[in-house]
């Protein structure tokens, strides 16, 4: 019953790659004149190390019982930082639940991400202030919100664009495909950024699509580009062009970033039940960070002092977010009644008052 899938799991000829896993700068038709300043490359590297460190800390905090769960972005740093750094200040991001690297690029305090997985709140940042929507756990839902938001930008005559993230698994959801239709027929200023990390929990890409994902865009009437998602140069350039096109009125683009989820789906998952170690090892050789490190060192763009200083910064960041995460105050039970409605609900007000009275009855009796 299983069909042979044409869905790609690795870059092929038309996949944009500008930096090989070995750290070698290469070119791609149409991308010959792309250039990155040494400062920019060092910036990517710094982002990578810090973001990976935030992620490591998230996993450690979960193991120590400080978080309920953590969704690791390990292996997807280039897809996230490359696209996140392509944003202009006025652009707006719609994330899934794994976009810690994009959040970092938008200036979200990592403690806010940890707090969500700790169960302190459902998201402590103001989307309008950060131009970064709340993490969305219902698979695919945010793709429609992103499209509507882009339609709003368009009506306002704003020269901004939306960057909407989703996964290979999400590509099967109705919402995502409806978003493609809307974005296409309304020529919305949006870039759909699919991190094809090969897995949706235990389900491989071939179970979500028979054709390569980026090719789907054609049927919806807009361009689709496949990019080496572990190559920050390619991701950055492709995303920058797509966002520019959206801002200039050329409508949506679908970007498929071919990458790999190096860790478990979340801290509760055990990937050894469904995938083989050699696959993970194969992808380890395509690590997004290592290739930039080699590129910097080989071309004399960074010295040991630079690498050391980034590591030190990562240590400081880790210590700080760990401390602040553990110190996050518990919200207390009455918090659950807040902000359910804009205007008061007598029903809820009564429930709240009764519960408060009930809790007061324990004071002094129970510890």
């Amino acid at each position: 019953m299983t069909v042979d899938s044409m869905a790609s799991t690795r870059p092929r000829g038309d996949c944009v790659q500008l930096l090989t896993p070995e750290g070698e700068r290469v070119t791609h038709p149409g991308y010959e004149d792309v250039d990155f300043s040494p400062e920019q490359v060092r910036g990517f590297y710094r982002d990578f190390v810090l973001v990976r460190r935030i992620d490591t800390e998230g996993t450690a905090l979960q193991r120590q019982g400080e978080l309920g769960i953590w969704a690791s972005l390990l292996g997807q740093e280039a897809a996230q930082v490359g696209s996140g750094r392509a944003l202009e200040p006025g652009d707006f991001v719609f994330p899934t639940y794994r976009e810690h690297g994009v959040a970092w690029c938008r200036g979200i305090d990592p403690v806010n991400l940890l707090g969500l997985f700790r169960g302190v709140d459902h998201g402590a940042w103001d989307p309008a202030e950060m131009n970064f929507g709340l993490y969305t756990i219902v698979i695919g839902a945010q793709s429609l919100h992103a499209t509507g938001y882009a339609m709003g930008m368009q009506r306002d005559g704003a020269e901004d664009a939306v960057l909407a993230y989703f996964g290979d698994g999400a590509s099967a959801q109705g919402d995502v495909n409806e978003a493609f239709i809307w974005a296409g027929v309304f020529n919305a200023p949006i870039v759909f950024f699919c991190q094809n990390n090969q897995w949706a929990i235990s389900v491989p890409l071939a179970r979500q699509t028979r054709a390569p994902l980026y090719q789907r865009a054609q049927g919806f009437g807009f361009p689709g580009v496949q990019v080496d998602g572990n190559d920050v140069f390619a991701v950055h350039e492709v995303t920058k062009r797509a966002l520019r096109g959206a801002r200039e009125g050329n409508g949506p683009t679908l970007i498929e970033a071919v990458t790999y989820r190096m860790g478990p789906h979340t801290t509760t998952d055990d990937p050894t039940r469904y995938r083989i170690a050699s696959e993970v090892e194969e992808w380890r050789l395509k690590d997004p960070i290592e290739r930039v490190r080699v590129y910097l060192a080989r071309n004399g763009l960074a010295d040991q002092a630079f690498f050391d200083s980034v590591d030190e910064e990562a240590n400081d960041l880790a210590a700080s977010i760990r401390k602040r995460c553990i110190e996050l105050p518990d919200p207390g039970p009455m918090r659950m009644f807040q902000q359910v409605y804009a205007e008061p609900s007598p029903t809820l007000e009564r429930e709240r008052a009764e519960y408060e009275e009930y809790l007061a009855g324990f004071e002094g009796s129970h510890a």
């Binding site: 700790r118 999400a170 099967a172 959801q173 949706a200 179970r207 207390g332 359910v340």
Partner: protein
């Protein structure tokens, strides 16, 4: 008899259903090689093959909608929804299609579909993983809705649900998956759509289902120390509801407390309260009490203990019925 977890009992029941009828299929996200995120379908794909235990693409509307077509073709799909909050992308297919096809076709198109949904909170999860959406389904004519609370019921009820020609939404108390109890595979199964008295007592009746059954059992122990004998009833079938044992009990105790995790407004306890008031008005010594989730979206994990009915809240309600 052997001691098994509730999750394992479901697994054994599903295995039996697959063995008994080649038309039975299991489909859902991660149900195959992984065996489901709660391992309820563990080993079933290995033993019954990828054609019968099917990892689907990630789309709940697709899972339910294709189950409709398979059912029309004579199959008996068991759909797994990974978590309560993720049933909603499939809600349209469930309430507009699954629930209505028999009616629309004047009985020519039966819908022998089971939709399994792990439900309820208490596992410290992020959003959408802790909800209790049973009311939406019980409110929908054409669907039957059941909730198991212990391994023996889990084992039998899932098989009964699969062999029913009606579509059944089957709720599983996720935070009780790991709780063990004796499973008697030889016993005569209790009817699927019958409520069950789990503990007899003459002072006050407590009615609940799913994950709250254990909470209420603990509360009944505590109430005994306070001198109140609780009659505990597991509703089991949420639609249709079998309230005869509840009426009989309330006629003796004069007091009823209904407990569930879903929010209160327009919930199943409202229905129970109305029916009991209609039927047992002259026997009631106190108004029907309700211990429920609050009318708020499911809160963050660090607040959920306040949201969920716990032993203290149940006891307070039990005590309150003696204050009239």
């Amino acid at each position: 008899m052997s001691k098994v977890t509730l999750g394992k009992a479901l697994n054994l029941g599903l295995r039996k259903a697959l063995e008994d009828d080649p038309k039975v299929l299991i489909m859902g996200e991660d149900v195959g090689r992984l065996g489901g995120v709660f391992r309820v379908t563990d080993g079933l794909q290995k033993d019954f093959g990828e054609d019968r235990v099917i990892d689907t693409p990630l789309a709940e509307s697709g899972i339910i909608g294709t189950a409709v077509g398979l059912a029309m073709r004579g199959y008996r799909p068991i759909c797994e929804i990974q978590f309560d909050g993720f049933v909603f992308p499939g809600f349209d297919q469930i309430v507009n299609q699954v629930a209505k096809l028999r009616y629309r076709s004047q009985g020519r198109v039966p819908m022998p579909i089971v939709i399994r949904i792990p439900f309820g909170g208490g596992i410290g999860a992020v959003e959408h993983h802790s909800e209790s959406p049973e009311t939406y389904f019980a409110h929908t004519a054409g669907l039957k809705v059941v909730a198991c609370s212990n391994p023996t019921d889990a084992y039998w009820m899932i098989q009964q649900a699969v062999s029913s020609d009606d579509p059944i939404v089957f709720f599983e108390p996720k935070r009780r998956y790991h709780e063990k109890a004796d499973l008697d595979e030889e016993a005569n199964p209790y009817p699927l759509h019958a409520a069950r008295v789990l503990r007899s007592g003459g002072d006050v009746t407590v009615l609940t289902w799913g994950p709250s059954v254990k909470t209420c059992m603990d509360a009944a122990d505590a109430a005994r120390e306070d001198g109140h004998e609780v009659e505990l009833i597991d509703l089991r079938s949420l639609s249709p509801m079998d309230l005869d044992p509840v009426y009989a009990s309330v006629e003796r105790t004069g007091r009823l407390v209904v407990v569930h995790e879903s929010p209160r407004t327009a919930s199943l306890s409202a229905e129970v309260s109305a029916l009991v008031t209609e039927r047992c008005f002259y026997h009631l010594e106190a108004p029907v009490q309700r211990v429920t989730g609050f009318d708020v979206p499911y809160p963050p994990a660090r607040v959920e203990d306040g949201f969920l009915p716990d032993l203290d809240r149940v006891l307070a309600a039990v005590d309150h019925t003696f204050e009239f």
